[in-house]
């Protein structure tokens, strides 16, 4: 099994990238975790260029297609999902009938320095993924006060991550068995 991590933040030292790294440390045996690093290079979505997608878009699509499940960790910008992430998902949603996210188990988590952890962005991301046709798992969480929580991850956080990973793997197992 392979899980693809996507961070919705570009900056170095991103707490959402840290959250993905922490998730990578909670994996059962036999599960691989790779982080997609191409977000910065995805051009603005433009239907005029759909037939000739950029290398970054092709990379996103192939990475998602190759993964059994996707774990998105995103911050919240101005009450919603970062534009860069939304743009990448818009590319990923095409072509609509056969996009690589269709049926793919996806979990959404995220972190913020504030109290609520970016919950609006996470709900928004789940909504987007659902409309794209992904299988959005119920498991997920919004980590508030993230710099402190990530500096010394406690058992509660590790358990939350473990539950998300297990949920993704369970859905991916059902899907691969049916394939």
């Amino acid at each position: 099994m392979q899980i693809l991590g996507i961070a919705g933040s570009l900056r170095s030292g991103s707490i959402n990238a840290q959250l993905l790294q922490l998730a990578a440390g909670t994996l059962p045996d036999g599960v691989e975790f790779a982080v997609w690093e191409g977000l910065r290079d995805v051009p603005p979505f433009d239907q005029d260029t759909e037939e000739t997608p950029s290398v970054a878009v092709a990379g996103l699509r192939s990475a998602v297609a190759a993964a059994d499940a996707v774990l998105i960790a995103t911050p919240e910008y101005n009450g919603s999902i970062p534009g860069t992430l939304k743009n990448a998902l818009d590319w990923g949603s095409r072509p609509g009938a056969t996009n690589v996210f269709r049926g793919k188990p996806v979990a959404v988590i995220g972190a913020s320095p504030g109290a609520f952890g970016g919950v609006w962005a996470h709900e928004e991301t789940r909504k987007i993924l659902g409309i794209m046709g992904a299988r959005v798992v119920d498991a997920g969480f919004s980590l508030g006060k993230a710099p402190d929580r990530l500096a010394a991850p406690d058992e509660e956080l590790v358990t939350q991550l473990h539950e998300v990973i297990e949920s993704l793997l369970a859905e991916a197992t059902i899907r691969s068995a049916a394939a």
Binding site: G96, A97, G130, G133, A134, V136, A178
Partner: protein, 181 residues
């Protein structure tokens, strides 16, 4: 009115198979609270015989007027066609008073099986151009889609939700009597 006819107490004997060209399986649901939105399925199979009425519908054949909506309907938010490619109905009891039908049975949708009560009418049989016997059934029931895990919705700005929970299922079926082997 005014014609002499026998009182119908049962469906005609024999095995009757649906003629899909002359049949429809459709649904309607409230949209934006105010209007009925309709859609249907293009691929289905229905059999009527001594065991009752049985039907299956291919979820992937769902038909609405907007392709993006079709794709959303197929996704896990709605029918989840990947894991639940068919919905099905199997009757338990069929009551007939004249041409009025009351059918109790089980509807399986998105992997959830629940009892449903169907009302309808039966017509015929009549003999067609090719000599085959044709039977008509018009069937209708109302289900709560959320009871089957079709929960997606979107809140409206001033209250309420974009899509109703009650969904009317409506089938108009022309069935052909199978020739005995």
């Amino acid at each position: 009115m005014g014609t002499i006819s026998e009182t119908r107490t049962a469906l005609p004997t024999g095995t009757w198979q649906v003629d899909p060209v002359h049949s429809t399986v459709e649904f309607s649901v409230k949209h934006m609270i105010v209007a009925n939105f309709r859609g249907g399925f293009d691929a289905f199979d229905v059999t009527v015989d001594e065991a009752g009425i049985r039907g299956t519908v291919e979820v992937a054949s769902v038909r609405v007027s907007e392709p993006n909506l079709t794709r959303h309907l197929l996704s896990p938010d709605f029918f989840d066609a990947e894991r639940h490619p068919q919905l099905s109905f199997d009757s338990a009891t069929i009551g007939i008073t004249d041409d009025e039908l009351v059918v109790d049975g089980e509807l399986t949708l998105k992997g959830v099986t629940r009892p449903v009560a169907i009302r309808g009418t039966v017509s015929g049989p009549v003999t067609s151009f090719d000599g085959s016997s044709r039977l008509g059934l018009e069937l209708e029931t109302l289900i709560d889609r959320t009871a089957y895990g079709l929960d997606w919705n979107a809140p409206l700005p001033t209250g309420g939700f974009a899509v109703g929970n009650d969904v009317k299922l409506h089938a108009e079926l022309e069935l052909v009597l199978a020739e005995e082997a």
